[in-house]
Amino acid sequence: MDFALFPDNTYAAISDVSRSSSGLGSTGLRRVPPVPVKIVIAGGFGVGKTTTVCSISDIQPLTTEAEMTEVSNGVDDAGDRYEKHTTTVAMDFGCITIDETLKLYLFGTPGQTRFNFMWDDLAHGALGAVVVVDSDRLNDCFPAVDYFERTELPFVVAVNAFDGHLAHQLDDVRWALAVKETVPVLRFDARDRLSVRDTLLALLGRALERAGGQA
């Protein structure tokens, strides 16, 4: 860690970050950034991931793009050949400022699951994930459920009830997704801020249990 960048004697102040809630160094000039935490909002195409983020984000949701160069074997009349093409993968995200020392980011996964390694990038160090499900298209969320079961991350399954309708009862959804009993399966409305909040709280409750804390 190199903090010789700072002209005043704030090196010691930085090592005190964990004890200081104000985040200010000894001179009051040091800008200590808030601790960032993140939750992944996953699920198939068009299920309401971006709506979920929009409903609760403090900032206008943003989109970050990553460009991937894919090399694939193509077999044509001339035999094997390599094809190279680039694809842009977009991820919508938002942020909730918990307080001046803590920010919660919500990152939506890209729709295409062949970019699973992008999910690795999103999921690395995350508190957990919400797998958003459209009850009319349960199949679409199978890749996300597969993925998060394989990771160590806590996750919840959140069935997005459009216009108050659920195509299937939650028990049926749990059966169809074959998730463990410990995985919460709940319904929510992605357009409703408090509903999204409650979904995040359900996830955080699981995360806290797994982290060994008391709710």
């Binding site: 199978f142 309708h165 169809a176 909040r197 955080l204």
Partner: protein, 169 residues
Amino acid sequence: MTQPGDGPAGRTAENRDDSSLGGILPRLPPYVLSGRSKTTDAPTAEGRPSEESAPSAGPRPFVITRGRVLGEVADIDIETQVSAVDAAGAPERGVETLPAESQEIVALCAQPMSVAEISARLRLQLGVTRVLVGDLHAAGYVVVHAEDVPDPRSPDIIQRVIHGLRALS
């Protein structure tokens, strides 16, 4: 006339096939399936059904990410915070000598900014952003706060997030 609990118009409780949940077969967890390929393709934007790819049938694409590997700062996550060094602590070689994108990054990071936000606001590819902030950190124009953060998954942090969210109205 629809009843509570009906699906969208046209799909009533009578239409529902209880034996397979409206035609949906239950998901089989990956460990149950033998010989199945590791990845299944999700439905595309056009809504085509997912392919159950036959094991190792046909070519499998592999992906090369652009951008070189950063040696300077390990573990730059997308939420990692970046803050500009104030003028007094900045390198002698002024910011104005840097390429335009780098200048924009330093300017944006006057307030702590995540790598993802830098990428989104400046319309830079995520991989490129990581490389640039790593270089700027090494050169002394910004601080990338990758290692000086507490583990976000500690009970203390999780509880703070919970309390903060509960306060939302």
